[in-house]
């Protein structure tokens, strides 16, 4: 392939480099596409389908942001990132937005110079056991052998939890989730522990999922959400309020099916009117069109629709809303007022 590749790309690189570093929104608009970092594949959250189109919960967040900017949910370049490359990809500007089951922690927010726009999914570490073990609570797990991914926060959480409850356990270290599934099925450990959403997805793939139960205890907080770079607050605001528009849409009963109808003329509810741009002009304040939220909601539906379509109870992943229900239903999803 000779040097043409090298020099060709070098020229391209210099050209792009020369195109200065304006605000993220301007960059995205100039490019015509949103660069969105996702996982290299996680059931229910991000995965390419047979046609190479990315699907999933995290993906839907990217698509909503792209739709709010361009009116086209497909105007996204998905950049698969691993746990090791995700933060560099974001910091270096390779991606504009990281929507990759990333836990909001103190150091990531401050030391790594990122901003978490919102919490898209409240996750937590759970336990899965075979039904035949006859265990119904994590408190009964004293002396169990537990399959655990090494070098993760789950490992530390597990140690904390068992120490706090004065119990002992025997760890079976594993490297990847795939290995964990195989070890657990082969009976190498009594218990498999990881994030509850991952447990549900893993269980769904089993030959006989009914033979295994996920224990009710959740032993850690894993708030997962879209991440942006520190420093460009306008861009952070755009992502945050696009996400809140999806959450608020569910609260006020705006769905992908009726959003056009509700946006056609002002409704009785001024909050809905402000979200949908039939009253006031909130869109202009974040550099977007009046109907930005309409476009975002049309992309994949409101928060509830996205949840149900990708990880909800009718999908193989089968997650209950739990903490991710609307605040009026006893959950934590709470959109700030649109005013």
């Amino acid at each position: 392939m000779k040097k043409s590749l090298f020099f060709g790309a070098l020229t391209v690189a210099t050209l792009i480099g020369a195109a200065a570093h304006a605000s993220t929104l301007d960059d995205v608009k100039a490019r015509g596409k949103l660069n969105c970092g996702v996982t290299t594949g996680l059931v229910g959250f991000a995965a390419p389908d047979a046609n190479g189109v990315w699907q999933g919960f995290d993906v839907a967040v990217c698509r909503a942001v792209a739709a709010a900017i361009f009116g086209d949910p497909m105007a996204v370049n998905f950049v698969p990132t691993t746990g090791a490359t995700r933060f560099t990809a974001l910091a270096s500007g390779e991606v504009d937005l990281l929507s990759r089951v990333t836990t909001w922690t103190f150091t990531r927010d401050t030391d790594l110079k990122f901003d978490f726009a919102a919490v898209a999914y409240y996750d937590g570490q759970g336990f899965m056991v075979p039904k035949s073990l006859g265990v119904t609570s994590a408190k009964d797990l004293d002396g169990a052998t537990i399959c655990i991914q090494t070098g993760t926060t789950t490992e530390l959480n597990l140690a904390d939890y068992f120490r706090a409850n004065n119990m002992s356990y025997e760890p079976v270290p594993i490297e990847t989730n795939a290995e964990g599934q195989q070890q657990f099925l082969a009976g190498a450990c009594d218990v498999y522990t990881t994030d509850a959403s991952g447990l549900a997805a893993t269980r769904a793939a089993f030959e006989h999922p009914g033979d295994y139960i996920i224990l009710p205890e959740i032993i850690s907080k894993e708030p997962l959400g879209p991440v942006v770079r520190h420093g460009d607050n306008d861009w952070g605001d755009l992502v945050r309020w696009t996400f809140y528009a999806l959450v608020a849409a569910e609260e006020y009963g705006i769905t992908s099916a009726n959003v056009d109808e509700m946006a056609a003329a002002p409704t009785q509810n001024p909050e809905i009117n402000r979200i949908l741009g039939t009253e006031g002009d909130l869109g202009a304040m974040i550099g977007l069109d009046k109907d930005w939220a309409v476009k975002a909601i049309k992309a994949g539906g409101n928060y509830g629709e996205i949840f149900e379509k990708n990880i909800g109870e009718n999908t193989p992943v089968g997650l209950a809303r739990g903490l991710n229900a609307q605040w009026k239903q006893g959950g934590l999803q709470y959109a700030m007022p649109f005013r």
């Binding site: 090298f6 190479g52 500007g93």
Partner: protein, 438 residues
């Protein structure tokens, strides 16, 4: 007369006896088995143990293959079909995942309507290799080999046709400069001109020229960004680029390491030892993470290109050592003979030393290439979706969550085909080039 003879010499047989059958134990399958499988008590025991092991493996795997299911939409459906046809919990491969996703495993996210482009590139590559591999073809065909990289680049990445043409023009400028300047004022100046002029051209003139031409005569294919490359195609593009680029670089490094010129010598040694002393995965992380920090912010230096550069540098260090082995194996007389003929350094290398050294080094070189090609799967760790990375992505869809062996088997088969043909070609080349008397 015959009768008389039979009377007088009764002890001589006058008729040929028909050949007797050898004893049952000394013929056919039984003899072969006695010779090869049961030639002693120890061998007999080993044979029986081996047969048992083979039987155990085959009897385990055979039903899995025999019951394989090729048409289903998901793993769940596969299991339903299996339960309906061969019974619950029977071993059965679910190759339906390959039927569903083979295009993705081969081409990644390359747009489906453009699949003809990578396929045509493969054809271009194979035809371009012909004149290099088989010297009986006319030498003019080498021109095609030289232009093939640009054709392939254009086909795979698309965009304006003027861009690769403008880049290729740089090499033409270099060649012309070398001809003219070295004829006028000596070889050293010629080499310098051949290096400096094209670089000036690439840095300052190539891009405006390509843009200008593209503006006036827009001609080209739809551009496909490298982000959409994936699957086996990604492995092949990275692998072949690495192979093609690392061979000349490696030869230069090997020569540099032998050079008596102090700076060139030490630079080559340093380069080889540093690159070789650090694992490839570290270089890949350097390419994907560190370069992002070194380059000015906002620069988006194509990740795939960074990987190709790193893989090339890595392989060239190994090639350099393999070639050095070849150079060291040549008797000193060959070098002296070249000097005695009055050849200058480059001529003696090109005509006498390198052809012999490379011939000795062929098995090592091909070995390095095969290793390099398989090492491309390491890019999975920096988030490029090569075939291994895609298995993870495919498993992440709710349809195929929980499927392992079928995907890995398919990938293994594809890699085997490639590596095995490389190995065969190296054997062919060794036989063809064998000159010494044995």
């Amino acid at each position: 007369m015959a009768e008389a003879a039979s009377h007088t010499t009764s002890y001589v047989r006058d008729k040929m006896l028909p050949q007797a059958e050898p004893p049952t134990l000394q013929k056919g399958a039984i003899k072969w088995m006695r010779d090869n499988l049961f030639s002693g008590w120890l061998n007999s025991i080993l044979t029986i143990v081996s047969i048992y092991v083979i039987w155990a493996v085959v009897s385990d795997l055979f039903p899995w293959f025999a019951n394989s299911i090729w048409r289903a939409d998901s793993l769940t459906q596969c299991r339903e079909i299996r339960n309906a046809t061969v019974g619950a919990d029977a071993p059965a491969a679910c190759f339906a995942v390959i039927v569903d996703r083979w295009q993705q495993l081969l081409f990644g996210f390359y747009p489906r309507e453009f699949y003809w482009r990578p396929i045509l590139s493969l054809v271009v590559m194979l035809t371009a290799l012909m004149p290099v591999l088989f010297p009986r073809l006319p030498r003019a065909a080498l021109l095609w080999s030289v232009s093939a990289p640009f054709v392939i680049f254009f086909l795979l990445w698309g965009g304006s046709v003027w861009f690769p043409l403008a880049a290729a023009l740089g090499f033409v400028i270099g060649a012309v400069a070398w001809r003219l300047v070295s004829a006028a004022s000596g070889a050293l100046l010629g080499v310098l001109a051949a290096i400096i002029l094209p670089i000036i051209y690439w840095l300052y003139f190539a891009a405006p020229l390509a843009d200008g031409l593209a503006g006036s005569v827009p001609l080209g294919l739809e551009a496909v960004p490298s982000k959409q490359f994936g699957g086996f195609m990604l492995s092949v593009v990275i692998g072949i680029s690495g192979i093609v680029l690392s061979l000349p670089l490696g030869i230069l490094l090997a020569l540099g390491r032998q050079s008596p010129l102090f700076i060139i010598n030490k630079l080559s040694v340093g380069f080889i030892e540093i690159i070789r002393g650090v694992p490839l995965i570290v270089w890949l992380f350097t390419a994907s993470l560190l370069l992002n920090y070194f380059l000015p912010p906002g620069t988006n230096f194509d990740l795939m290109l960074r990987v190709i550069i790193m893989v090339t540098l890595f392989a060239s260090a190994y090639i350099a050592e393999v070639v050095r082995g070849g150079l060291a194996a040549l008797p000193k007389g060959q070098y002296e003979a070249a000097d005695a003929l009055g050849l200058d350094y480059w001529k003696s290398m090109r005509l006498i030393i390198l052809p012999q050294a490379l011939k000795i080094a062929i098995p090592g070189i091909v070995n390095t290439f095969i290793g390099l090609f398989k090492d491309t799967t390491l890019v999975v760790f920096i988030g490029l979706l090569d075939p291994i990375g895609l298995t993870n992505a495919i498993r992440a869809s709710t349809d195929w969550n929980g499927i392992y062996w079928e995907l890995f088997l398919f990938i293994a088969l594809m890699f085997f085909v490639f590596c095995f043909s490389m190995g065969r070609y190296s054997l062919y080349l060794e036989k063809k080039l064998r000159r010494e008397h044995r």
